[in-house]
């Protein structure tokens, strides 16, 4: 069997006589392996001008025939390759990148400021297709964030920001450089300075919903900017959520201070304790404090017998609730001094317990301003 030693062998001779002698022995394989020949076949300009290949074709019809075969094979290889329009390539690449991000949404990426896509856009302007695509991506990116103040915060920052986006359908938890843990809800994003907490405060910017478990550090307050609401803590756990109308904060443990971003140097911060929440209305720039819908016990060691009351003074019962749920209950001690209850409670919610207790002594309560106020005529 003949070996393929010819393949990969290229001719560089330029003298026309030796050239013709050389190419007289050229076989199909040799033409195909000759990169200059391949280039000549695929270059219309070179085909039109005079070259060693056109001379060879004219002077040696036998070689010309083999050259035709080789040329057609080369052209076939080009034309038989499947076409894929550039927009489809970009679509597929974006699909891969999007799914890869969802695979690992806790990856913090540098934020591309709007200036940069514009620059990119100008550079790519000569290539119409990619320019159009860049614009589409830019708009897409804008659409994701444009209804919030988030973008304004991020654009304002001179420092490099890192951004974490949750494109998955479940919750994703990740750690900030200070070891604070963030649980990001689907379709939410959070960004922070690359040099996080290095100069003063630990600042983060949120769009969507997140649960924060902040590592205690008295010297570096942790600040969350969320759609006009500023939340300040030193070490605690709480939820923050942005909405179309504003933002809300729900405290799980510890103390949390909130204030509209606009008022941060003008007013006192509003203090929130566990099971309290604050609603911020961006339209009215107001903060409203209340008790969360489902208060949870803040003490870990709550036993069943904690809610078994046998002929117990009402004031002691309210004190116990206050201690377990961390919620202030205001009442007039003098009025309630003769009230005793015999009742066994267990897994009812905080508000159900409160309803039952108040009914047994014929009292009512108001839930306002983050605390409970009990009104009673006393017991006789």
């Amino acid at each position: 069997m003949r070996s393929d030693a010819y393949l990969g062998h290229t001719h560089t001779a330029d003298h026309s006589k030796t050239l013709m002698q050389d190419f007289n022995h050229y076989k199909l394989e040799d033409f195909l392996a000759d990169s200059d020949f391949c280039h000549w076949v695929l270059s219309p300009e070179r085909q039109r001008s005079y070259s060693k290949w056109s001379i060879l074709k004219e002077q040696n019809p036998a070689a010309g025939l083999v050259m035709d075969q080789a040329a057609q094979l080369i052209r076939y290889a080009q034309t038989s390759a499947a076409e894929l329009p550039q927009y489809q390539v970009s679509q597929q690449i974006n699909r891969i990148l999007k799914d890869a991000r969802a695979l690992e949404p806790v990856m913090a990426l540098p934020i591309v400021k709007p200036l940069i896509p514009w620059k990119k856009l100008l550079i790519a302007a000569s290539v119409l297709v990619s320019a159009a695509l860049g614009w589409m991506l830019y708009l897409q990116n804008r659409a994701f964030t444009n209804q919030s103040v988030y973008h304004a915060y991020v654009d304002d920052k001179k420092q490099t920001l890192l951004e974490v986006v949750n494109l998955a359908e479940d919750l994703k938890t990740f750690e900030l450089p200070d070891k604070s843990k963030i649980t990001l809800y689907p379709s939410s994003r959070l960004s922070y300075e690359k040099a996080f907490g290095e100069n003063g405060n630990r600042e983060v910017y949120l769009e969507g919903k997140a649960f924060f478990l902040v590592k205690k550090d008295q010297t570096h307050p942790f600040l969350v900017f969320a759609n006009g609401l500023l939340t300040r803590v030193v070490g605690t756990s709480f939820h923050v959520e942005t909405t179309a109308e504003g933002a809300s904060v729900k405290v799980k443990t510890g103390k949390v201070e909130v204030i509209p971003v606009e008022d941060k140097n003008k007013k006192e911060l509003l203090l929130l304790t566990p099971n309290q929440q604050a609603y911020f209305s961006s339209k009215e720039n107001t903060l409203q404090k209340s008790i969360v819908e489902q208060p949870l016990a803040i003490e870990n060691k709550v036993s069943k017998t904690d809610f078994e009351f046998i002929n117990q003074p009402m004031s002691e019962v309210f004190e116990k609730l206050r201690r377990i749920y961390g919620i202030d209950i205001m009442y007039d001690e003098a009025v309630l001094k003769d009230c005793y209850v015999d009742v066994t409670l267990s897994n009812e919610t905080f508000f159900t317990k409160l309803d039952i207790l108040c009914k047994t002594i014929g009292a009512t309560y108001q839930n306002a301003d983050g605390r409970i106020t009990v009104t009673s005529q006393g017991c006789h």
Partner: protein, 195 residues
Amino acid sequence: MVKSDADLWEEFKNGEWQAFEQLLESYYRPLYQYGRKFTTDDQVKDLIHDLFLHLWDYRSNLPEVNNLKAYLFTSLRNRIFKNQKVEFLVFPGDHFEQSDPSDQQNIERNIIATETSSESQQRVNRIIGSLTRRQQEIIHLKFFQNLSNNEIASVMEISPPAVSNLLYHTLRLFKEKWALILLISLISIDWITST
């Protein structure tokens, strides 16, 4: 800024997002075009998607790679053949009987001179369409993707001499079929002119 494949691969393994994007920009189209030699548009897109997600997911455990293009081609090829759901495109030549044409040199020359280029290109398409899948694959890798014989060897998972061998037989078959088709068209021309 164009990075070398070695740098690109290293950065990709370190989890650099930009390297991931650049890898896709550079290799998506060649991989698609190679994959389409075997299967349908949808399936190639899905397989390349899965391949890159797998690479990203396992990036810290990926091997050192000397030849990135050949590595990616091999990975895609393995996925194509591993995937039982892939409907292989039917190549008409998979059961083509080899013929033994005689020397038609002089006749060929006359015909060639009168042919238009699109006619001859159609003829080439027919000839290559009658080759086996492996023969078509090697033509694609060699003359479209411009891979070296060693790269083709690693992609197709055969030895370099086997690549030379396959290439030689493919080209010989190409020449033979070329001659055979010329003969047939000549006979029909004779028949037309004699009636």
